[in-house]
């Protein structure tokens, strides 16, 4: 099975109740497909995406072996 590693941070991690999981790459083309599959009943939230630790757009392609992260707007500094 081809897997994508998915990670969550801050408010999104809290609301999903988990900080990471593995998702089957079958039927997944882009970040948005991953988000649809994992976000379930989360409702509309402001979410940012990083693919392999770089910011990416929701329509950016993802595939097996990729690390994809979803998180709210950042508040460092």
């Amino acid at each position: 099975m081809n897997l994508i590693q998915v990670r969550y941070f801050a408010g999104i991690r809290e609301r999903l109740g988990r900080d990471q999981e593995l998702v089957d790459a079958e039927g997944i083309r882009c970040a948005s497909d991953v988000w649809s599959r994992v976000s379930g009943a989360l409702g509309p939230v402001r979410v940012l995406v990083a693919i392999n630790q770089e910011y990416a757009a929701m329509d950016h392609p993802v595939g097996p072996g990729d690390e994809i992260a979803f998180f709210p707007p950042v508040t460092g500094g």
Binding site: R7, F9, A10, G11, A50, Q53, E54, Y55, A69, F71, P72, P73, V74, T75, G76, G77
Partner: protein, 141 residues
């Protein structure tokens, strides 16, 4: 240089030590600009007891390295130092330090401002405040 750490740090000692250790800088810089961000004890109408800074380990360092390289390319600066904490912080604790050395002040100010602005708007950190009325995630301005 970039450092991301959970240990508290003294920004003034860090700048002094970094300058001392980079002996080759001495006499070459005419301008040093430093920004320090600290945890305030009061925020959006609530007393702050402590703050927990979550971060995306790995991506944070990558991002800070990239932004630091960009600053070195874009402005004529000699060196830059960025230190950022994560984990649990107490009010008055320094959160972030940005220091820039250059021949002239205009470059030093611009690069320092660029680094802290990029860090605030793009580096993957999230602040969670413990207030008298419970916990909350900080929302960007």
């Amino acid at each position: 240089m970039i450092r991301v750490q959970s240990d508290p740090f003294d920004p003034w000692q860090e700048v002094a030590a970094y300058q001392q250790q980079s002996g080759s800088l001495a006499g070459r810089f005419g301008a040093t600009t430093v920004f320090v961000g600290s945890l305030r004890d009061f925020s959006q109408g609530r007393q702050i007891r402590e703050m927990t800074l979550e971060h995306y380990a790995g991506m944070t360092e990558k991002h800070l390295e990239k932004v630091s390289r960009e600053a070195m390319t874009r402005w004529d600066i000699l060196d830059a130092l960025v230190i950022h904490r994560y984990g649990r912080l107490k009010p008055a604790d320094p959160i972030v330090l940005v220091a820039v050395w250059s021949a002239h002040r205009d470059e030093a100010f611009q690069a320092c401002r660029y680094l802290i602005d990029e860090l605030k708007t793009r580096a993957p950190f999230w602040k969670n405040e413990a207030t008298d009325a419970g916990q909350r995630w900080v929302v960007p301005d």
